[in-house]
């Protein structure tokens, strides 16, 4: 036993031998990567990757997104009643999958964290062979995953992400967004605020202290100041603060008569509830009734805030009470399967899945550059938002924006918002160069 001897030379030799032996598998794997494009589907199926928050602050939205994706896959494969495929203006999808391949899917939990989201997206791409990643309920996560998909060479169809940066400063060729952004929210809300509150107002902003919050605050400021409003102060609040009382107390003494809550999710539910409890809405300031505005609304949030949302204005991407054929078909098939109406997160995710599948079918391939070319400057209708354009210059969808108000007399627990105005697409359009950023070339992996 004491014969065992090790000197530097034998150690080096041994290590080298082990190293060479173990490098061999990489030679085989490198072949696997040299297909025509990343994760090119070879068999009779193609795999979509649904990356949604299943835990954390946006878990409710994530769950709804996943429901919508499952419904979309069912419809693409010819199951169910076909939903919005029947009303969609493009008739390329035949209900037999995409390009003759049956659609399967894998899921991942983003935890609303960039790291976790990228890890689960990578798992779906590297291990499960996903051809496309879609989902997400936060702009930070969407931007992070979009960058990853660009590097990996797959298409990213963004879910609920509202920050300008997703298709502005941080846009990527492989990334596409159907949801609207803060710029459009501001453009749509501006005229409605003017009609309801006049041009002589002073706004006080409470802003969630991160990318989306700043983006939202900037857009609302821009459009309200154009109307002649003044901005008393814009206060940043930490994400997930829970208690906003210390931020709401100074509002009354600031001389402002409008409170703008640039919050989303639970933050919005908490800050709005507390603002109403503090009696802000019963106050008179500068001889005018005090008003509260929530720029980005969702039904899930409105439900959370309950009574407090009554009469409060905001914008939204889609609402289940819309009466066009597409929305009705979607609400019907979603309701039949799950027993309640879909949220705007569900709607945008369903639309993204359908749009992607349709683009692959029209392009006849799953190759990112081919699919991208089919999506760029694609005009469509029948997905619940009226005539819509997927602009090629920044991969952003342009469509009508809904301005909504908390309903005074809700008829059910889902019926909490009423549509005040449908702002036409022309009014919310802006030049692609305005937000900066570079798309760069497509990456096929």
């Amino acid at each position: 036993m004491s014969k065992f001897k090790m000197n530097r030379r034998t150690l080096l030799k041994g290590t080298a031998a082990v190293g060479v032996g173990l490098a061999t598998p990489t030679i085989f794997t490198s072949k696997a990567w040299s297909a025509g494009y990343m994760n090119e589907p070879k068999g009779g199926t193609v795999t979509f990757g649904f990356n949604v928050p299943q835990t954390g602050a946006y878990a409710d939205e994530g769950a709804d997104e996943l429901r919508a994706y499952e419904l979309a896959v069912e419809h693409i494969n010819g199951g169910g009643d076909g939903g919005m495929l029947n009303t969609f203006s493009s008739k390329a999808l035949q209900g037999n999958g995409v390009n003759g391949k049956k659609v399967e899917f894998v899921t991942g939990d983003t935890q609303t964290k960039s790291d976790a989201a990228r890890a689960s997206a990578k798992r779906m791409i590297e291990k499960d062979g996903a051809i496309m990643i879609t989902g997400g309920s936060s702009s930070g996560v969407a931007i992070a995953v979009q960058g990853l998909c660009q590097d990996a060479g797959v298409i990213f169809m963004a879910g609920l992400t509202h920050s300008n940066d997703t298709t502005g400063k941080d846009k990527r060729a492989n990334g596409f967004r159907h949801f609207f952004n803060t710029e459009m929210s501001g453009a749509a809300l501006g005229p409605v605020l003017k009609n309801n509150f006049g041009t002589d107002r002073t706004a006080y902003h409470l802003t969630a202290d991160y990318t989306w919050g700043w983006s939202q605050e900037g857009s609302i400021k821009k459009y309200t100041e154009q109307l002649g409003w003044k901005t008393a102060a814009a206060v940043r609040t930490p994400l997930g603060a829970g208690d906003f009382s210390q931020y709401i107390t100074p509002v009354l003494n600031s001389g402002a008569d409008v409170l703008v809550l640039n919050h989303y999710g639970r933050d919005m539910v908490n800050s709005l509830t507390q603002a109403v409890q503090f009696g802000l809405r019963d106050k008179q300031v500068n001889g005018k009734d005090f008003a509260i505005v929530v720029p980005l609304y969702s039904r899930l949030m409105a439900q959370g805030a309950g009574e407090n949302v009554k009469g409060i204005f905001g914008s939204t991407n889609w609402h289940w009470s819309l009466q066009d054929e597409g929305s009705k078909a979607f609400v019907k098939s979603f309701g039949q399967k799950y027993g309640f109406p879909p949220s705007q997160a569900a709607h945008t995710c369903y639309s993204q899945a359908i749009l992607y599948a349709d683009a692959c079918q029209r392009a006849g391939t799953f190759m990112p550059s081919g699919v991208g070319a089919a999506l760029e400057d694609f005009e469509f209708d029948g997905l619940g938002n009226g005539p819509t354009l997927y602009r090629g210059a920044d991969h952003q969808c342009f469509k009508d924006v809904l301005v909504v108000k908390g309903k005074e007399n809700p008829s059910s627990k889902f019926d909490v918002l009423e549509v005040v105005e449908v702002t036409p697409r022309a009014q919310v359009e802006y030049p692609a160069s305005m937000l900066g950023g570079e798309l760069g070339p497509y990456n096929n992996g």
Binding site: T29, T55, V106, A119, S120, R123, S139, G140, L148, Y210
Partner: protein, 386 residues
């Protein structure tokens, strides 16, 4: 018999560890973990946990703020990519150094207290770093979106050496070898092996013995006239450097640094990894890191469709029942499974998974008469944590 201060069984352990690490792509593929990203995470969080274990396992100081060093390492590495070069070597060197500097500052203050007060101090510092990175320091950290590479980065050294990445976003590469996929894993794997070697040497050194003495009774050490704080601080800085390196490697394999890497949950995760695997043992933290990352990535991906297939052999009613039952524990319920596993281990195997392995080995070696020389080194040095 002894070479570099380690005896034969240590060398066997080290070589075994190196072989298993490098053969990871083959060994882990049957359990669905043989893909590059997860293997990289195994190696990186293995380094993180190894470093944490030098502090917690040896000195008994429970730091709840180690994620701060991980985050700082990531930011440093991404900035190195942006400013200097896409080569990972400068990035990880700077990440390690900056991780060490940060831990020197935080450790110098926090180590004035012990026990729960030390833990709370480190937690407070980490949360401070997190909040700063999230909001105030946005020009440096890019806030919630996370720090990313852009095409317009200066990359001084790359430009000086005539490296042009064209119109696409660069990814880190080691003299032409792309650091994503399997090469990225081998890079991290080699780092893990080096770190394991350093840890092994620390465990077997007089310094390591001193750290254990700090753990067993610090007062007694002080009464003998020995100032223990420099030892504890050194251990703290070493573990901070390991964390910085791990953070740097995270950025090497995926050039993005986000603030949530510094959140207290991330600090808690490394505590879980270490305790789950076995605090104070050599291999335990690496195993613990692997188990947690495996759960996070694989268990969370099981959805109802996969479960339906898994139980397809059962009759329909039973199949649905089993799917409903097990879907509680997989998919979004993976935290529940992890929590249950953690409880079981803390209650029945206070020494972590390593104690379980040891008990198994004792079961087999008992019949053949006592312990062999091979495992005595491991058992003798691994104290059960309090």
């Amino acid at each position: 018999m002894r070479f570099l201060g380690m005896n034969r069984s240590d060398w066997l352990l080290f070589i075994g560890f190196a072989v298993v690490t490098l053969a990871g792509p083959i060994i882990f593929s049957p359990i669905g973990a043989g893909y590059p990203d997860l293997l990289q995470k195994f190696a990186i969080y293995g380094i993180f946990a190894l470093g944490f274990n030098i502090l917690f396992g040896l000195t008994g100081y429970l730091s709840f703020g180690h994620a701060a060093f991980l985050g700082v390492g990531s930011y440093t590495a991404v900035w190195t990519f942006k400013l200097l070069t896409m080569n990972p070597i400068p990035a990880i060197i700077f990440a390690t150094i900056v991780g060490g500097l940060f831990s020197a500052v935080i450790g110098f203050i926090s180590l004035r207290r012990t026990g729960i007060y030390f833990s709370i101090l480190t937690l407070a510092f980490a949360q401070m770093c997190y909040n700063l990175a999230y909001s105030v320091l946005t020009p440096i950290t890019n806030g919630e979106t996370g720090l990313q590479l852009t095409q317009g980065d200066p990359r001084v050294l790359d430009v000086a050496f005539g490296r042009d990445y064209g119109a696409v976003l660069p990814s880190s590469d080691l003299f032409g070898i792309d650091m994503t996929g399997y090469p990225g894993f081998y890079f991290c794997g080699v780092m893990l092996i080096i770190c394991f070697f350093i840890t092994l040497r620390i465990f077997r050194s007089p310094f390591g013995m001193m750290l254990r003495a700090v753990k067993s009774n610090q007062n007694r050490m002080n009464y003998t006239g020995l100032n223990t704080r420099p030892y504890a601080l050194t251990a703290f800085i070493i573990s901070g450097m390991f964390a910085g390196l791990a953070g740097g490697l995270l950025a090497v394999t995926d050039p993005l640094a986000g603030a949530e890497r510094m959140q207290w949950t991330a600090s808690g995760e490394v505590v879980l990894m270490t305790i789950l695997g076995g605090a104070g043992t050599l291999l335990g933290p690496v195993i613990g890191a692997g188990v947690i990352k495996y759960f996070e990535n694989i268990f969370s991906a099981f959805n109802e469709t996969i479960l339906m297939q898994a139980y397809s052999a059962l009759p329909e009613g039973l199949q649905h029942f089993m799917v409903t039952l097990s879907s509680l524990f997989v998919g979004e319920g993976w935290h529940l499974t992890l929590g249950a596993l953690f409880m079981l281990i803390v209650i029945f195997l206070p020494g972590g998974l390593m104690e379980g392995l040891r008990r198994l080995r004792n079961l087999f070696t008992k019949s053949s008469g006592g312990q062999g020389p091979g495992n005595s080194a491991e058992t003798a040095h691994s104290a059960t944590p309090a």
